[in-house]
Every structure is written in C-alpha cells, then in structure tokens.
Amino acid sequence: MSDEMDMQEGGVVKQFMFVNRKAPYGTIYALEGLEVVLISAAFEQDVSMAFIDDGVYELKKGQDTKALGQKNFSPTYRALEGYDIEKLYVEKESMAVRGLTVEDFAVDVTVLDHAEMAAKMAEQDVLISF
C-alpha cells in the first residue's frame, strides 16, 4: 500500500496539450474542453492549451451573454493561472484571418506561427482535442 502511494507521489509528469478549435456558445465543445482542463489541474501534470481556427474566439474580450441566457465562461480563462495553467498558445494564422490581435484577448497568450505550433504539438505526450 505504502509503495503504491510512493509511486503515485513520485509519478511521472507528462505533457498534456488541450487543442481548442471551436468558437464558444455555438457548440458545447469550448465549455466542455475548459472544464476538462480545470479537472486536469488536479493531477499535477504539465498542461498547456492551444487555440487554433475558431478556437481563438474563445479568448475574445468583452463577451456578454446576458441576452443569450447562457453562462459567460470567458472569465474562467483568466482563472487558469491560479491552477498553474499558464501556457496558452494561439496560432498566428488563425488570429490573422479573423482580424484579431493579442489586444483582443482577455488573457496573456503566446502567439506561435503554424510551424512553431507544429513543433509544440510534436513534443507533447498527450494531445486532447475539443
């Protein structure tokens, strides 16, 4: 029993990347992905998030869902830091085609071009897609 505990405590830390490619609200993917990221924080792994394609819209500042009757979950991205999830990567091309800049985002992000994003993805142990 104590051996098992020791193994858990000294467990291997893997690199997990959550790849977000969906806009918020239109589908449930963005919210579900965010919830899984928060759960993953409990496992003390090396977690990062990538925002590609319409996923970049998740980070847009100034979201106001009052008239929609849905929860505005965008403030949660600002809380990720408190869970030691600080690596947020945004693909440059996805931003550019949508007319967005880093000033449009509610959180600090690292902008990567597609080649840099590919390299970052290649070094992960696990990729989880939403």
Partner: protein
C-alpha cells in the same frame, strides 16, 4: 425570401452556399456562430460587403454580444434583437436555414 446562417464562415461553407444561391432583394440573417461573418477585419469582410448591394444582411445582436463582437459590426449590416428576428420571419413568405 429569408436566408438564415448559423455556422461560422471559417468552419463551414454554409455562408458561401447561401451567398451563391441567394438572389437580389433577399434577406440574410446571421445568428449564432454565423455572426462572425458580420464583423470587420476578418477575411470574410470583402465577401459580405460585395453581397451587400443586392442583399439585406442582418445579424442577431444577442449573439454578437455573447461573442464580444457587438462593437465591430460591418457598416451596412443591420443588428436586430429577438423581436426583429420574429419580424423578419413574419415579413418573408418563406425561409431557408443553411444548417
């Protein structure tokens, strides 16, 4: 005729199909992720502006606000609320949803 588009133009070809088929004088209402086509700065700006002389283009305000896009709507696109949505449906004899 009223056309309704609810998909992001960057993810699906619903808007492209709608703009290809819609005839002059028709109305196009952008809702849900479709509203991303109604904002300035994106690569669909030119396509929407090119369609504007012939089509009346509307975008649903609550969906723009939810996505943080209410302050960058393209000139010439009319923002409507839920009541305006109902009026559009009532005013037109038929309606095609580009799901």
């Amino acid at each position: 005729m009223l056309h309704i588009v609810n998909k992001s133009p960057y993810e699906r070809n619903a808007l492209d199909s709608c703009l290809r088929i819609a005839t002059n004088g028709s109305a196009v209402l952008l809702i849900e992720d479709g509203v991303y086509a109604a904002v300035k700065g994106g690569s669909f700006e030119g396509k929407v502006q090119a369609a504007l002389p012939g089509l009346k283009i509307y975008a649903l305000g609550p969906d723009l606000s939810a996505r943080g896009m209410a302050d960058r709507v393209l000139d010439g696109v009319n923002v409507v609320d839920y009541g305006g949505f109902v009026d559009l449906v009532a005013e037109h004899s038929n309606c095609q949803s580009w799901l």
